[in-house]
């Protein structure tokens, strides 16, 4: 294992932990998209550019968008109560 691979694996581990430890859901959604970005770097470093492309579109763009919209919608409903 080359150092770059070890570094990115550590980054992914730290990112995953950060997602779990984030308490505020909006913040969690943002941290999650950074975690997605760390995964993209991991796939790239491990020479899987196709998977990296899928991960960058789904993990750090599409999924956070859906999550943030869902959070906003739920918050608005709670605010009206």
């Amino acid at each position: 294992m080359i150092p770059l691979q070890a570094v990115t694996m550590t980054l992914v581990a730290v990112g995953g932990l950060a997602v779990v430890l984030a308490r505020d859901v909006v913040r969690q959604a943002l941290v999650n998209s950074f975690f997605g970005l760390a995964l993209v770097v991991l796939f790239l470093v491990f020479q899987a550019p196709d998977v990296a492309l899928s991960a960058i579109t789904v993990g750090s763009a599409a999924a956070p968008l859906v999550i943030v919209i869902a959070i906003l919608r739920v918050r608005r409903r709670e605010g009206k109560r």
Partner: protein
Amino acid sequence: MSHRVRTVLFLVGGAGLAALLGWAFSGLPAFGEYHGVYGRLINRETLGQTHALSAIAAVTFDYRGFDTLGEEFILLASVLGVALLLREARERDVDASRGAETFDPIRATGLVAVPVVFLLGLFVITHGYLTPGGGFQGGVVTGLAIVLVWLATDFRSYAALVRKPLADLADGLGAGAYVAVGVGGLLAGGAFLESFIPRGTIGELTSSGTIGLLSWAAGIEVAGAMLLLASEFLEELLARRER
């Protein structure tokens, strides 16, 4: 359950999990070792058989084209499910002015990014069998490029650009085109999804037989699905009437 009991329970469970994981990892093949046969076979045969430079595109749209067909319809069905579940929020109920005004720098940067990202998406769809990428990744990028319009400006500009029936049509047509290309293989006397057009010269845009066509079919379907999904979620977010 008290805090103390929970901590002890976690420590015992965590230690057990760590021990099992350590045991499992110690039995793994050495880092970078690969014992599979399929991968080696694909690496050796792809170029000669499919003329595709990207072995991954050759697997997804040629050797395992039928699996991708299944995935196409999984996506189609799930987007259909979202559209059905959220159908109560109709376009006329949407308060398009809702949401904060975007700052000018964000608006400018976003609008500059839209055509660039859109073009990138089309590039990724087109060159799937030459470079990393393909229909799925390119389709998501293309669709999200248009969603950027909403992020940069407001829902009104986005809704003027994206007509839901059109996104619907792209979603369905893409999935249908994939099946049609597959049937083309049957009509040409081969198997379902077997390439029926010349493989061309390796490395050129006209190479790889039906891989390019299938990639486009998947790209159009995925882009339509992304737009439909985004439209449904945005309408739900901006709906005037509370359920």
